[in-house]
């Protein structure tokens, strides 16, 4: 049974091409994926991300629970509304999911986890929460709209109630706050995203989602599908769960070392395995690839290096760069001349530092 977000009919009315995405009937594009991509890089676009799973955690020991559950340290969250990106690991140090955690107050934190991992995430979180007497409450009654691009914040601010505007305008990156939207609808506005552009991700009661979408449309925000979302996040150097990492991959092997907080005395799930792996030397690395020739890098293409074979994880044509880029996982060590097997043809590629694009601009050396 395919699930539908509250915006499903709205997407169809806009002429969206719909696809199955992790059991959800979602828009892949509304005509041209490339034009939607450019709209986000140059102006403002919006994505229905209501399929994502919102989970509220309640209980006096919630922070203590999250110190145990997450590889990043929630003690970095001191001010109300602050957000943190983290991996949730199994005992072997493999990534169960990546998520964002928001701090409301000591008795209330919020997680936003992936749609495709919803059931296993909830089961895992509930299992771990018991020992801390933390209540795990999914919030399916919420919808979520991401508004992204250089003009995204200004366009959203124009729709926020006058009394809230200055406060929301001053929100720092990775911070969130409540505000009133059109007709007084209650919004939870977070300055986060998955495109490499500035913008907001807005969580709101599902019954108001169509009205907010229409209001954003009326101020010139371009509807964008999951296709553009994928090329935007790839250019921005952001991992996609299931493609770039999964339970067989540790954060070290997924370029997510920066999200692991090995602070003293915090015994989070997977820590022992991560420390062991680091001490023994991490065998696989994740790198960025650029193809200067014509062609497109794709998931599962073979990568040939001096140290042996690797594999493309996320790969695509990158509209901002007008050439193909990819993430690949390959054996650690000096890679030599790297080639990718594209339908039996060995094509030379360059290993580069990513993000490939930041704030609308191709990065140096891409």
């Amino acid at each position: 049974m395919t699930e539908k977000t509250v915006l499903n009919a709205t997407h169809r009315a806009l002429g969206a091409r719909m696809v199955d995405f992790g059991g959800w009937d979602m828009p892949i594009n509304y005509g041209s994926q490339i034009e939607e991509h450019h709209a986000v890089r140059r102006d403002a676009g919006m994505f229905d991300v209501s399929h994502m799973t919102v989970v509220d955690l309640h209980g006096a020991r919630t922070r203590e629970f999250l110190r145990h559950l997450l590889a990043n340290n929630v003690d970095k969250l001191k001010a109300q509304g602050k957000a943190l990106y983290s991996c949730m690991l199994n005992e072997r140090g493999g990534v169960i999911d990546d998520l964002i955690v928001y701090f409301f107050d000591e008795g209330h934190f919020r997680l936003v986890v992936n749609a495709g991992t919803r059931a296993k995430d909830l089961a895992w979180i509930e299992l771990q929460a018991k020992a801390f007497a933390v209540e795990v409450k999914e919030r399916p009654e919420f919808a979520m709209i991401a508004v992204q691009g250089p003009n995204a914040r200004a366009k959203v601010l124009g729709l926020v109630h006058d009394v809230d505007r200055t406060r929301i305008e001053k929100l720092g990156k990775f911070a969130a706050a409540a505000a009133q939207g059109p007709h007084g609808m209650p919004l939870f506005v977070a300055r986060t995203g998955y495109t490499g552009e500035d913008g907001f991700e807005i969580i709101l009661p599902a019954e108001h989602a169509v009205a907010l979408w229409e209001a954003l449309l009326a101020v010139g925000v371009t509807p964008a599908g999951l296709g553009a979302r994928d090329t935007l996040r790839l250019e921005a150097g952001m991992n996609l769960y299931g493609q770039d990492m999964d339970e067989s991959v540790s954060p070290w092997e997924a370029n997510l070392g920066w999200t692991i907080a090995l602070d003293e005395g915090r015994n989070f799930i997977g820590r022992t395995a991560l420390e062991k792996q680091k001490a023994e030397g991490v065998k696989r690395v994740m790198v960025g690839l650029v193809l200067d020739e014509k062609g497109v890098l794709r998931h599962e293409q073979k990568v040939l290096t001096a140290n042996g074979e690797g594999e493309i994880l996320s790969g695509s044509f990158a509209p901002t760069l007008n050439k193909a880029v990819a993430f690949a996982r390959s054996p650690a060590g000096e890679p030599g001349d790297v080639r990718v097997d594209i339908r039996g043809r060995e094509v030379p590629v360059r290993i580069v530092k990513y993000p490939f694009v930041r704030d609308g601009k191709p990065q140096e050396g891409i």
């Binding site: 091409r17 594009n29 041209s32 994926q33 296709g227 090329t231 062609g295 695509s316 044509f317 509209p319």
Partner: protein, 131 residues
């Protein structure tokens, strides 16, 4: 969805074939196919002079989303390829049945054309696909 031109014949795999006045066969992909693939970013054309077989993959079109083989509707020799597609593959998205053609074949067995679908039969194929 634009009208399917009545003078075209089709593969079930969404390639079209048009018999020109001189008997050569021009090949492309249908408007339905370009729409399903999304924005095209790269076309791998066959070699001019190559001998090709009906039903075999002879070209590749790549959209942002995926790569797809193009199967020739007829056997024969490749007389010309649409060089325009090297720099502007999106021509296929914009005009699949005319300026978005992919290659031109001198057919070696005209009877193969009888095995292809006419416009009505092809319309039925895509109708069924959508349900």
């Amino acid at each position: 969805m634009s009208e399917i031109p009545g003078d075209l014949k089709f593969n079930k795999s969404h390639e079209w074939a048009r018999v020109e006045d001189d008997g050569n066969v021009r090949v492309g992909i249908s408007d339905h196919a370009q729409s399903a693939l999304g924005d095209l970013v790269y076309v791998e054309l066959p070699e001019v002079g190559a001998s090709i077989q009906a039903g075999h993959g002879v070209a590749v079109v790549e959209s942002v989303k995926a790569a797809s083989d193009i199967y020739s509707p007829v056997s024969g020799e490749v007389l010309a390829v649409n060089e325009l597609l090297n720099d502007t593959p999106e021509t296929i998205n914009e005009d699949a049945y005319e300026s978005g053609w992919i290659f031109l074949v001198k057919p070696s067995n005209k009877a193969e054309l009888d095995d292809l679908l006419d416009a009505d039969a092809y319309a039925e194929v895509i109708e069924n696909e959508d349900h």
